[in-house]
Amino acid sequence: MADPPRTPLSVREQPPGKGAPAPALPARRQDDLRRYLPGVEPERQLTDWGRSERVESLLDRTLVEFYYRYWFRAEVEGIENVPAGGGALLVSNHSGALPPDAVMIGKALREEHPHPRPLNITVEHFFKGYPGLSMLIPKIGCVAAHPANVHRLLYDEQQLVLVFPEGRKGSEKLYKDRYQLRRFGRGGFVEAAMRAQVPIVPVCVVGAEEAQPIFAQLKLLKKLTGLLYVPLTPTFPHLGPLGMLGYLPAKFKLRFLEPIHFDDEGMHEDKGLVQTTAHEVRARIQDGLFDMVSKRESVWFG
């Protein structure tokens, strides 16, 4: 029996230093609604997503700056793999009880990229329902991981989106499982990138596992607080909620891998291709992690 024809997975090499040119998008639908996106009102301090430049830059100049530069001493390679224009989906491994990786990736883009762009971090719907967190989370550039949200950001607004396909399976895993990638969801992130016809940029983060090792999950406290999970870390919960920010000074290394491009229309409808690509992305990140960990001489000094 002949296999149905499959769209080939095109993995195009990008010359370093040259941002991927946004491919000429064919008219995908009769009614391309992108030109009807609302304009920016300069008087406003929030975007339509609820993002606040004021809150973000305040945190960026203080807490994030401190952790990025002095505490984790982050080292970045391959930043040129993040395109300077157009949408792109960043896919990363995920770890740490209050994961510092997302913020560090965002900071790396602002600090090291020739064209710094805001990064949209996808988070669980849970945060929208938790008092206090629901006020803060959108202000610093997090959006709920809804397929429609990701598509609007990638395709309509041509922005950068960071996803953690491991989800909370990644951030709640224990120290003994460090750098072992969990299952990559159901490949929804690949579908999103293919539908929006934007590249996927795999990202490897080393250091977050040691910065906040999780020794156990506290089931009872989780029930009492209604949080997603309550981990036992070196500083939490015995030092109170601020103990969540008590990271150990592990050396952070971030590596942006070569982008994977999806130029053909309708690729997202091929479920087999979506799964294959998801495995491929996962394998690349896993290989990158093992490579970085094996080259590392010290957890604390790199």
Partner: protein, 427 residues
């Protein structure tokens, strides 16, 4: 075929009245007929009002007799504070069903139905997308009676559209309406000295200005736009941002847990939080408004501008309240003006006598409500909007009661200005 014979249901609602006024200006429309169970609340020139029961059971005869080609349904109740849930259900579900029944049938003359719906269709939930588009349903079934009604009404409209392919059915889902004349529960909350919130939540809100609502209905009436469209102005604001634009502090008076119970207590002391509003105060809602824009509609206001317009109204309302006289429908007068052979000059009406001008010179009381509570700078900002005769009365009153030199000077210069620009001095 353009609409020429239009039937508006819900004429006495704010929207029905405004839409009829707007359509009256279009000379290509032959007939505008409005039905409702209450009398119209706005002044209309050539719209005919027919009183019908809440269930609109006899509507078929009106439609057939007048050979209506377009039905605009503006009567949906979307705010449970305005009526009891049973009346709302009667109106929203049974009424819609009967109106659609009056439009269906092989021999029906109706070619277009415009249905005013609400973004409460989507609800507000934790796992909502940030922007609902028209193809999305709500992730969870509704919990409040009003939302259930809206879903049921829309379901019957969708069924009607399926079974009547020759009829152009447009459904408009409106975001929360703001404006100086319309009254909604949200506007009531925004009129409080502080904007109430649920502790720990800053929901995203999208609004639409009342004028844009009328224009959107008019737009759909004049064109062939089958399908569902979101009508919401550009810009999604956080509630704290709304409070900032209104110039008010925000007060997280509702607890994050047990919100419904607390809202019940608040209701006792006069703070009305309708049940369908609580989810929105928690999770908010954003709409993708691009489809209607692609259909050629242009908004006059962004969400931010709609809030600013409301803010200005709330600031000036205590001052200007006296100038408007509410319209009262009197059947005999309306019939005389429309049908009597003795009416010579067509549809022209005698200009309504302004309550301000009439009462200004006679009463000993202040010419403007709450005048004595106003600060001088507030009075001065108000002066430019007054007629010369009202100014004169104001000057007399100020002279006799307060005698503030700055105010009198401002009045004098305003009078001089109006005379210099050829304004006729009043009687």
């Amino acid at each position: 075929m353009p609409s020429q014979r239009i039937l508006i249901t819900g004429l006495s609602t704010y929207w029905g009245g405004r839409l009829a006024q707007a359509l009256e200006a279009d000379p290509s429309i032959d007939a505008i007929i409005g039905v409702d169970n209450e009398e119209p609340s706005v002044e209309l020139e050539r719209t005919e009002y027919v009183k019908v029961g809440t269930q609109h059971a006899l509507l078929r005869r009106v439609v057939d007799a007048a050979e209506i080609d377009t039905v605009v349904d503006t009567r949906l109740v979307v705010d449970s504070a305005t009526t009891s849930s049973r009346k709302a259900h009667e109106n929203n579900v049974i009424g819609t069903m009967n109106i659609l029944a009056a439009c269906s049938g092989a021999d029906s003359t109706v070619r277009k139905v415009v249905f005013k719906s609400s973004s409460y269709f989507y609800g507000s939930g934790q796992d909502d997308p940030a922007f609902f588009d028209e193809s999305m349903g709500r992730p969870h079934p509704p919990r409040t009676p009003i939302e259930r009604d809206i879903l049921e009404a829309e379901a019957s409209v969708a069924e009607f559209a399926d079974t009547s392919p020759s009829v152009n059915v447009t459904v408009l889902r409106f975001a929360n309406v703001l404006g100086p004349r319309v009254r909604t529960s949200h506007i009531e909350l925004f009129s409080l000295p502080a904007v109430p919130m649920i502790l720990g939540f800053d929901p995203r809100y999208q609004f639409v200005h009342e004028d844009d609502v009328v224009h959107a209905l008019e737009h759909a009436t004049q064109r062939q736009l089958p399908g569902v469209y979101n009508v919401a102005a550009d810009g999604v604001l956080a509630l704290t941002e709304v409070a900032g634009l209104l110039g008010k502090p925000y007060a997280p008076i509702l607890p994050p847990w047990g919100t419904g119970i607390a809202a019940g207590v608040m209701r006792r002391i006069g703070l009305n939080f309708p049940s369908e509003m609580l989810a929105q105060l928690r999770f908010g809602r954003g709409l993708d408004n691009r489809r209607y824009k692609a259909a050629g509609f242009e908004y006059g206001y962004t969400s931010r501008e709609a809030v600013l317009a409301l803010a200005e109204h709330l600031r000036l309302h205590p001052l200007l309240r006296s100038s408007a006289e509410p319209y009262r429908y009197e059947r005999e007068v309306e019939e005389f003006l429309r049908w009597s052979p003795n009416v010579r000059n067509g549809t022209r009406r005698p200009a309504p006598v302004s309550g301000q001008a009439r009462g200004a010179g006679l009463t000993a009381g202040p010419p403007v409500d709450h005048y004595d509570d106003l600060r001088p700078d507030e009075i001065i900002s108000l002066i430019s909007s007054l007629e010369p005769e009202a100014l004169r009365a104001l000057r007399e009153y100020e002279n006799g009661h307060h005698g503030r030199a700055a105010v009198i000077e401002a009045i004098d210069s305003a009078v001089a200005r109006s005379q210099a620009s050829g304004g006729a001095p009043g009687a």
